[in-house]
Structures are given as structure tokens and as C-alpha cells.
Symmetry: C2
């Protein structure tokens, strides 16, 4: 009981893989299907082979590393994440979940343990979506939610297609691999937010992934020369935006666990001495409670109309994307909590504000995630960091969860309600 | 007394010149030193020659059309403006002042009148600055405030230089022309704001051009993934901007005849699901009263620091340009008012919120401007419009002012204080 991973080896593996696309400032630029992604994939193949895993690559480039269990007829256990990164991204986002899976295979090999069930560590293709949009391409295709030919046809900035690039780097498999039904899926990931660090807790256990609403907003004012147009005769689309940006933030702040964000603003003509005639901007609203999230959306919509009028402008409100929340499996959530507790690690019920490949896998496989603290809450940036202690703690929890599910002959483990 | 211009001919001339660079939607795209600018210049040469004017082109391409007076030793009277336009600009901005000068020469010719003084109508090169920045190039060079070689070296978006383009279109003169000292200078222009129309007044008489302060502002926050970052743990540079944009507008609105405008906003990374880590934006503050303008500047600066703190961000405030106000000549202002009154036209003391070539000429020649209403206050846009009646009314006022000064053998005419 309470087997642990090899902390020094985990650190060494994470350090070595960070060299593929490593940047001068300690980050990683390893965009999907670039040479850097290919080199990292090649390295993963060598390491997983050494750990005794079989390797399969499907037609969208997902890599499955399979450590055979004793009873091949039992549904397998899956873990993993993605090895692509944002441009000038961090060295932990995604890859931590794959390297921890690798370290677990090494640990099992060293201890001479063969699980009852197959253990599959997966590398999902193009999670980030930075080079080819949309992201979570590999897991979305695996889940039957994304069309392969459409994904092959996605182009990057230089007009290269995802299909051609998969072929070029040698990761377009001949056939698909479908291990379903699966017994359980765990994705181990950095938190990418500040909550665990602020509360001094080692392990985060998301109840699921929040729901999401995206808006495109068009504000129409009247462009005019700034000099001769008195303040009280303006229809200034940027002033309308300022009122709206302030209000959206305040509505998010006042709500119960909802975040409301403006990320993009594009004024026209965006000229120093012309009153903006038009502003396009985006809103991203997320929350665990769908009712509370939709209440905020309604208040935002009502406010935009009121504030446009206040600024003498028109507003067009377009809701462009809507994703339901994804609640994870309660028994697996409980299992992660109890595993952390057994290892002497504090754990916290939380939600994932970011999307992950598991949002797709969760659709037909009981799933849970394991979070470890992000220093300063920073992610999608070169300064992204998680302490080696925390990396190892999360890997130990993953190992415990993998052993318990991998050796379980039951249906899913019973829920320990005392942890909620 | 009360001679008037020929309204039909003025309308015909304005309509014909608007064809050079005319757009489908009734506007004009006649950027400085393009083929369209050249063709309009060529047409002006033909027309002014017909009106009996001599023509001189200086080394920066300014065109001087000179109608000789009886007494060549007397300082001349100048009027004019610019024939270049904004991209997709209007058909009155600038060119109205030149065509009205042309119409005055025709009117004088038709009436067999020769003024005592020379009358010079000028077309200043590159007022708008849309193709080559900065603008008011020709008048700035004439005033000795801009260096010719630096102006020749200005490049447009395609890397073409102002000097080469002047040469290409045949308007780089061999030598400069300096008619100073001059007796008086009048620039006749559309208002480009809504004041005259709103107040139902025919003629605007600016006391001068407002003072101006330009700022570049840098707001530094912390970029983070929008999903996992709670509202109360953000340092959102766009939220800081929203607070600032709202406050700047409010400070302008509350001030006494000051305008405070934000024209440009550039967030980074400007991505839908990333909290903005940085925002660059610009502020333009103008007013007739320099003390009140500087009080607003101080309040804006104080507010930016306060609001950056409120949003958990840092702010850097850079004042990048400062122009003193340019008060026009009081006796010429009075002359314009009295001329309008004699013609039965209402006139209004106002200020010019926009800059004009006359800001430079005013430095060593007594100057005044004549404004006519802009429908809806619109300018720098294809919808820019002034009624033919108002175009003619302004030309009549200009004619009266030109005759009075052109025939005056005094120093400057006495001020009629009753008009203030």
C-alpha cells in the first residue's frame, strides 16, 4: 500500500522532455505537429517501449501506450493528456500527465507488478488549438464528436493542413484504436489557476469542467474627428465599450463562482484622433452552476443594451458557442480524494475552469482529474511552474488511483461520502 | 458693397473637382501626391489660369495662385486650404477653401475689379497626413517649422517617399516662393463638428485653434487563462482600461469646453480566453482654455494611477505631444463677423477643435478662419456634407473679407468690439 513514484526519475523525465521546443526563458514552444512535437513524440515512444508498453497510433495521431494486464477481457484503465504546448507556453501544461503515466509504468515494472487490467497512457493530438483551431482535436475525434476529414483540412497560418503535417511528421496511423468500453480515465494536470496555492492545498479534485458561453459583441457608434465634436454630441463606441467592460467584470465579481471575461477588443478605425465608430469585442462566461451562469449571461445581455443606449450607440449581441458543464464520475472523484488522504496529502473539491481532453472522454468513460498547484496561478506562459514536490505528489495520487482501479474486479469502487 | 459669389458656378466647380478621386458613395479618396491629387492640381492650374492668376509651385509642392493687385509693394492677402483628402473622406474638407478662392477670382474678373493688394490662393501640400505622416507638411515647411529633407524622406505604406512622389507627379518646384510679410490670411473650411448646425447659425468664426495634449498609456496586468482564474485573483489590464476609458470620458464631459478622447486601444494578447496582460491606449485632450485643459490632464493622470491600483495593475503615463493654442487676429475675427452681418448671415464665436494649415501661417501673418455647418457634424467620412447654400454663404463672407483687406491701405482694420 501507498506505493510512490520515483521522484528523481520523474524530475529527470520532465526536464528532458522540456528540451523539445524549450525556450531560453524556461518555457516550451511545442506546437502541434511541428518538428518539436515530432521529436517529443519520438522520445515518448522510446521511453514507453523501455517501460514495456505496446504502442498504437490512430489516424488522427493520438498515441496509445498500453501496458498489458493479467485479464485481457477486462475494460482497461486510461490516463494521459497532451504533449503539444501553447506558443511560448509552459513546461508542465499537458505533458505532466503523460510523463506521470510513464513514470507509473516504470514504477510498476521496477516493483514487478502486473495490474489485472490493461493500463493505457495516451497522448492526445492538438489539445491546445494554437496552431490548428479548434483544439482538443484528438480526443474529440476519439469521442466521435469531430469529423476526421474536417480536422485533416484545418490549416495553420502558413496554409499547411493538419492532415499533411500529421503525415510529414510520421504520426498519421493506418487505422484507429478503440479500447472502449474502458473502466476509468484519469487526467493529471496542473491547475492553471491560483486556488490551490492560495489555500495551501496539495491536490485539487475537480467535480467536473464548468459550462461555457461565448459572445461576439458589435457596438456601433458614429466616427468623428475628436477635436470639433463636443463631449455631449458623441456616439463613442469605445466609451460604450468602457462602460460594458466595467459592468461585465462587476457582474462576474458579484456572482457565485462564475467568471466573466473580456479578452478581445477591436475598435475601428483605432486612430488617435478619431472617435471610434465601431467596436468588436468578445465575452467568455463560465461557471459550475449552469443556472447561475445563465443568470449572469442574462444580466450581461440586459446591461449591454442599457449601456449602449447610455452612450448613444447600438449593440448587437451574438451568442456564438455554448458548452454544457461536464460533471465527472462521483466514485472516481471519491477515489482520488481517498488516495490523496492515504498519502497524507490535503485535497480540495473544486471545478476546472479550463477545458481538457477529458471533457470528451468523460462522455462514455467514468473520468476524474487530479490537479496540482500552479505557482502564482500562472499558465499558458513561460513562467508557468509547479514545484517538483507537487509534481511528484500528483503522480503518487495518480499511481494510487491507477492501481486501485487497475486491480479492481468490481464495477466502479464505492463512493466514500465522508469526503464530500 | 455686399458683392456675392456666383452660387451656380461655385457648385459646378465643387462638383467637378470632386470627381478627382471621387468614390461610389459620394466621397473622395484623394491622398496627397497620388495620381488623383495630381489630376486635381492640374485642373486647378487650368482654372486659375483662366481666372487670370499667375502660378508658382514651391519645393514642397505648395501651389500659389496669384492675382496681381494695383500696388505691388503692398503686402498681399492670402486665402486657401488643401486639396488632399482622407482615404474615403469627404468632398468639402479642404478643397472648399481653394475653390471658394477660385470663385472669388472669377467674380472679381467678371466685375472688372482689381484689388489694391495681390490676392494669393494657396493649395498646401499634404494637410491630412493620411499617406505621409505628419500632416500640414506644406504649411509647416512654409512657416519654417518643418525640415524639407526630413519631409522628402517621409514614406508611405509602400515605402515610396514624399520627395519622389512630388517629383513623379510633377509638383516639386525649382525654388521656394515667399510672399511675406503678408497683410492677412483667411482659411475658409467646413466646421467638421455639429455646433453650427445644432445652433442654427450660418457662419462660425473661430477665436483660434485649441491647445492639444497627447498621451500614450501602458497598462501592465498579468495574463492568465480566463477559466481557472477567479474574478478576485485577476490583474486584468482590459478591466483597468475600462475603468480608465469611462473616467476619461466623464472628466471631459464635466470640464468646461474641453474634449478628452480615447481613440486607440491595443490589448495583448487580445485573445478570447486569455486575461489581457497589457493594454496600450492613447488619449487626446483639447481645449481653448489652457489652464482648464491642463487641470483635466492632471485629473486624468491622477485617475489613471488610482484606477490602475483598483484593478491591481501598473500604469505608465507618457505625454507625447503638446501644442499651445493658436489665437487668431482679433481685428480679422471682427472683420469676418461684420462681413457676415452685412450679408444678413448669423455668425458665432467658437473655437476650432481641429488643427488646420492656418495654425502655421498664423505664426507670422494675421489670420482668421471662416466655418460653415457640417451636416450631422460628420467629417473625415464619405457622408461629409455641407449644403450648397452654406457653401455659397461662406464664399460670400470670404469674398467680402478679401475685398476689405485687399483694398485696405491701412494697417489692419479697426476692431468692432460690439461683435464680441
Amino acid at each position: 500500500m501507498n506505493m510512490r513514484t520515483n521522484r528523481d526519475r520523474l524530475q529527470k523525465l520532465l526536464t528532458e522532455i522540456a528540451a523539445f521546443g524549450g525556450t531560453d526563458r524556461g518555457g516550451v514552444s511545442r506546437l502541434a505537429l511541428t518538428d518539436e512535437d515530432r521529436d517529443a513524440r519520438d522520445q515518448l515512444k522510446r521511453w514507453f517501449a523501455e517501460a514495456g508498453a505496446e504502442i498504437k497510433v490512430d489516424t488522427i495521431g493520438n498515441m496509445f501506450f498500453i501496458l498489458r494486464g493479467k485479464q485481457l477481457h477486462l475494460p482497461p484503465v486510461m490516463t494521459g493528456s497532451h504533449c503539444d504546448s501553447q506558443p511560448e507556453g509552459g513546461r508542465f501544461d499537458g505533458i505532466l500527465g503523460i510523463i506521470a503515466g510513464l513514470e507509473i509504468m516504470y514504477t510498476l515494472r521496477d516493483a514487478g507488478i502486473q495490474l489485472e487490467r490493461d493500463l493505457i497512457v495516451v497522448n492526445w493530438t492538438n489539445e491546445e488549438g494554437s496552431r490548428f483551431t479548434p483544439g482538443t482535436t484528438g480526443s474529440g475525434y476519439f469521442a466521435g464528436k469531430l469529423d476526421r476529414d474536417k480536422m485533416y483540412a484545418l490549416t495553420d497560418r502558413n496554409g499547411l493542413t493538419l492532415g499533411d503535417e500529421l503525415e510529414r511528421i510520421g504520426y498519421k496511423g493506418q487505422e484507429d484504436f478503440d479500447p472502449r468500453p474502458m473502466y476509468a480515465n484519469f487526467e493529471y494536470h496542473i491547475e492553471q489557476g491560483p486556488v490551490l496555492e492560495q489555500r495551501g492545498i496539495r491536490i485539487g479534485v475537480p467535480k467536473g469542467i464548468v459550462c461555457l458561453r461565448w459572445y461576439d459583441i458589435e457596438v456601433q457608434g458614429v466616427p468623428n474627428h475628436v477635436g470639433p465634436t463636443p463631449m455631449n454630441a458623441r456616439q463613442d463606441a469605445l466609451y460604450a465599450f468602457a462602460l460594458m467592460g466595467k459592468r461585465i467584470y462587476e457582474l462576474g465579481l458579484a456572482a457565485d463562482n462564475v467568471v466573466a471575461s473580456v479578452g478581445e477588443v477591436h475598435p475601428t478605425p483605432n486612430s488617435r484622433n478619431v472617435i471610434a465608430g465601431h467596436v468588436h469585442f468578445t465575452i467568455d462566461i463560465r461557471g459550475w452552476n449552469e443556472q447561475e451562469t445563465d443568470r449572469v449571461c442574462q444580466e450581461v445581455e440586459r446591461s449591454l443594451i442599457e449601456l449602449a443606449k447610455e452612450a448613444g450607440c447600438e449593440v448587437a449581441i451574438n451568442k456564438v458557442w455554448e458548452v454544457d458543464r461536464a460533471p465527472f464520475d462521483e466514485s472516481l472523484i471519491a477515489l482520488v480524494h481517498s488516495t490523496a488522504r492515504d498519502l497524507g496529502l490535503t485535497s480540495l473539491d473544486m471545478v476546472s475552469g479550463a477545458s481538457h481532453d477529458t471533457i470528451y472522454i468523460n462522455k462514455d468513460t467514468p473520468s476524474a482529474m487530479i490537479f496540482v498547484p500552479s505557482i502564482g496561478g500562472r499558465s499558458h506562459a513561460e513562467v508557468e511552474c509547479t514545484s517538483w514536490e507537487d509534481c511528484a505528489a500528483g503522480a503518487d495520487v495518480l499511481l494510487g488511483a491507477v492501481i486501485k482501479t487497475g486491480n479492481s474486479l468490481n464495477e466502479l469502487p464505492a463512493i466514500d461520502r465522508s469526503l464530500y
